[in-house]
């Protein structure tokens, strides 16, 4: 039997419901820390270092690859400190809330025709909804720390995340109108099977028509991730880490994993919505081989989007809170509304 036949045989095996659930849980549970490690290593440690004329970590593992694992181990060994006046329950729960919202996004991200944990009809709606859960955790952290800097960070985060939720959703609306569905799998299929003025050589990745939406989505994602130029909630030089200031050890690690895990998830959403997701425009989308090739194709696109996100992060200075709000309400939201109107007109007219 050829290897391909073996693989297709394996994939055709019927698994009981409980077993597939366990496998899917395990995949998500492994994927989030792995994603955080990959992004942390490739961009935070290496790309940033090269942009700043340094090498970054070189000692732990070949070319410093194991540095983040070593850091993670170090965090786990640290003492678990609660501030004296902290609200202990809320303080302990806050990082978990942030991390759980990250885990929940991964549930709907498709990486192949069958390689998806849950194919929801309202996939993109669900993803954006659970991603905004993290603001609850951040507000909890800011309040429970009993620290003025943490409180300011938490309030800034709340204002910022709510303001940027709107352009994020509105930017996605253009894609939804064009694809005619909220289902992420169908959005992928719409791009792979689409055509540009009758030419279907590369399908129709929505970045070509929704470039304004892509731009708004990236800006809003940057704000959602609280990365520069929108990192006021954690601004080191102003409020010394904001809501994270009192956290140590593995609770701080949770925030770190949440931040980079969410960055990966949003990059994956951008890849699915605008760059065609796991599919290649050639070949049968239902072919079993896409379950193997899909994740690899996704990874390439995710890293490309993440490179953009982190490039902004390492280059730009920080805006002020009022300037950020002004940008959201006076520039991004009108622009995304105009994008929706234009998309709607084209959708009806063509």
């Amino acid at each position: 039997m050829s290897p391909a036949a073996v693989l297709s045989g394996l994939l055709a095996v019927e698994v009981p419901y409980w077993a597939s659930s366990v496998i899917k849980l395990g995949v998500v549970a492994l994927l989030v820390p792995t994603a955080a490690l990959v992004l942390g290593y490739v961009f935070l440690l290496k790309m940033m270092s090269f942009m700043q004329s340094r090498l970054g970590p070189m000692e732990a593992g070949p070319y410093g690859t194991l540095q983040l694992l070593a850091d993670g181990l170090k965090f786990i060994q640290k003492e678990d400190i609660f501030p004296e006046k902290a609200d202990r329950t809320v303080f302990a729960l806050a990082p978990l809330v942030v991390l759980i919202s990250t885990f929940l996004i991964y549930v709907v991200i498709p990486t192949g025709p069958d390689a998806v944990v849950a194919q929801l009809d309202v996939g993109i709606f669900y993803a954006l909804a659970v991603s905004s859960l993290s603001v609850v955790g951040i507000l909890m952290a800011g309040w429970a720390s009993a620290n003025k800097y943490a409180l300011m960070g938490g309030l800034r985060a709340a204002g910022q995340l709510i303001a940027y939720e709107l352009p994020l959703v509105l930017a996605v609306m253009g894609v939804v109108i064009q694809a005619g569905t909220l289902d992420l799998q169908k959005i992928v299929a719409a791009q792979a099977q689409g055509e540009i003025f009758g030419w279907d050589g590369i399908g129709n990745p929505f970045i070509l028509t929704q470039f304004a939406g892509f731009f708004i989505f990236l800006v809003a994602v940057q704000a959602e991730l609280t990365q520069p130029p929108f990192d006021m909630p954690v601004a080191e030089s102003e409020i010394v880490g904001g809501y994270q200031v009192e956290y140590t050890g593995f609770r701080f690690l949770f925030f770190f994993m949440g931040e980079f895990g969410t960055a990966f998830a949003f990059a994956a959403l951008a890849a699915v919505l605008f760059l065609g997701g796991w599919a290649l425009p050639w070949g049968d989308l239902e072919h079993w081989a896409f379950n193997i090739a899909g994740p690899a194709i996704m990874l390439v696109k995710v890293l490309a989007v993440a490179a953009l996100i982190f490039w902004f992060r390492f280059t730009y200075p920080r805006l002020r809170e009022d300037q950020l709000q002004r940008m959201a309400w006076k520039f991004l939201i009108p622009l995304s509304l105009a994008n929706i109107v234009v998309t709607g007109i084209f959708k009806v007219a063509l």
Partner: protein, 392 residues
């Protein structure tokens, strides 16, 4: 007394409810918050403490509290011989150490009535400008990192290294040269130093060009710094500001040109940069132009170094005649001066150090009223103080 009419009673009842409402509003009015910025805060680069009364994110009043790093140099100088004092005062403004030594030595030379030979003066001026570059390049990166841009500060450290290498090659010390002597310099220049320094100046000019685009040209940097922390010229002068801080307010005053010290600036072709705006952006801009100007000055100085001795005739054991003298130079941070009172002893009787940052920081309570918390950081960064220069 007349009976109160029905309509009057109604009116009084209305007034009473209004008053009750007003009381309620007063009672639930929120109190301000006192935020302690520092002494352990990344933006105070050192141990400055800032007590800010906040209303939301707006500053009602802010007061700088200094002295956490007071090392008592004025007192320590009273029990050290004149050559030993330079070791101390190297550590006042630790980023441009050589520049600290020069005004002290000049004041001592005034008292002793010796003058350094021309070669020593040219080299002294060149090293003075090199330490200015070493100091301000770090500011150019540091202010960007205070505003949240991570990368420029690493570039600043990278290119500052070229200058530090040249200072080290000439003096033997990267940070604390301790090279200036009463009547001249400790050593002559090493072989090949002039060519190497010229190459380093090329790199610093490239650095300035790069930063003009990367930082000054950035819209977010402009949005964060333009119109923030405006110092009108008269207010700045009344607070005793000096250096680039006052030149950024449009005051054309530079001790290198307007002072009377025995350095060779009058033989160079250079200009004093000023900016009319007086905001944080202007202060950054002026410092960037001054760095570039300093590289041109160093080039001219290197071309013009005359031959001759580097040390005047001074006794081995230095006893400074009785008297008083003040010398001030245009240091990287602003005017730095030493007032020396001598009783004809081996040690000075009293040394008063006028350091620039101490006066520059005194404007912060006036400047920080009504700004937002992020702007505190912008303003502090743009005023550019070194804690050692404040506390001494």
């Amino acid at each position: 007394m007349t009976a109160v009419g029905a309509d009057q009673r109604q009116q009084m009842a209305y007034v009473a409810t209004q008053a009750a409402d007003a009381r309620l509003n007063v009672e639930i009015e929120t109190e301000g918050m006192t935020l302690n910025i520092g002494p352990q805060h990344p933006a105070t680069h050192g141990t400055l403490r800032l007590v800010a009364r906040l209303d939301g994110e707006q500053v009602v009043e802010a007061e700088p509290i200094m002295g956490y790093m007071h090392r008592g140099y004025e007192k320590l100088a009273e029990v050290r011989t004149y050559p030993q004092v330079t070791t101390l005062i190297n550590r006042i403004d630790w980023l441009g150490s050589f520049a600290n030594e020069v005004p002290f030595i000049l004041a001592a030379e005034k008292l002793m009535e010796v003058e350094a030979p021309p070669r020593a003066q040219w080299i002294r001026t060149a090293l003075f400008e090199l330490s200015r570059i070493a100091n301000i390049t770090l500011f150019l990166g540091d202010m960007a990192v205070q505003l949240g841009a991570l990368t420029p500060v690493f570039m600043a450290f990278r290119d500052r290294e070229f200058v530090l290498n040249q200072i080290e090659a000439a003096t033997g010390g990267r940070f604390h040269p301790n090279f200036d002597r009463i009547g001249g310099l400790k050593d002559d220049l090493p072989k090949g130093w002039i060519d190497d320094t010229k190459q380093a100046m090329e790199k610093i000019r490239d650095f300035c060009d790069e930063f003009e685009e990367l930082v000054l040209g950035n819209e977010i940097f402009q949005a964060r710094s333009r119109g923030i922390g405006i110092i009108p010229p008269d207010v700045g002068l009344s607070f005793g500001l000096s250096g680039a801080n006052i030149r950024a307010s449009g005051v054309d005053w530079d001790l290198r040109r307007d002072g009377h010290e025995a350095l060779v600036y009058d033989q160079l072709d250079w200009k004093v940069w000023t900016h009319p705006d007086g905001d944080s952006f202007a202060r950054y801009w002026v410092r960037l132009q001054e760095t570039r100007e300093a590289t041109h000055m160093v080039d001219q100085l290197l071309d013009g170094i005359p031959s001759g001795p580097i040390m005047a005739k001074v006794p081995r054991i230095i006893k400074v005649p009785a008297g008083e003298a003040y010398a001030a130079t245009e240091n990287p941070l602003g005017e730095m001066g030493y007032y020396i009172v001598s009783k004809g002893d081996l040690v000075p009787f009293r040394v008063k150090i006028r350091s620039a940052s101490f006066s520059n920081i005194s404007i912060t309570p006036w400047l920080l009223k009504g700004v937002y918390v992020p702007d505190i950081i912008t303003i502090l960064a743009s005023l550019y103080f070194i804690l050692g220069d404040i506390d001494r």
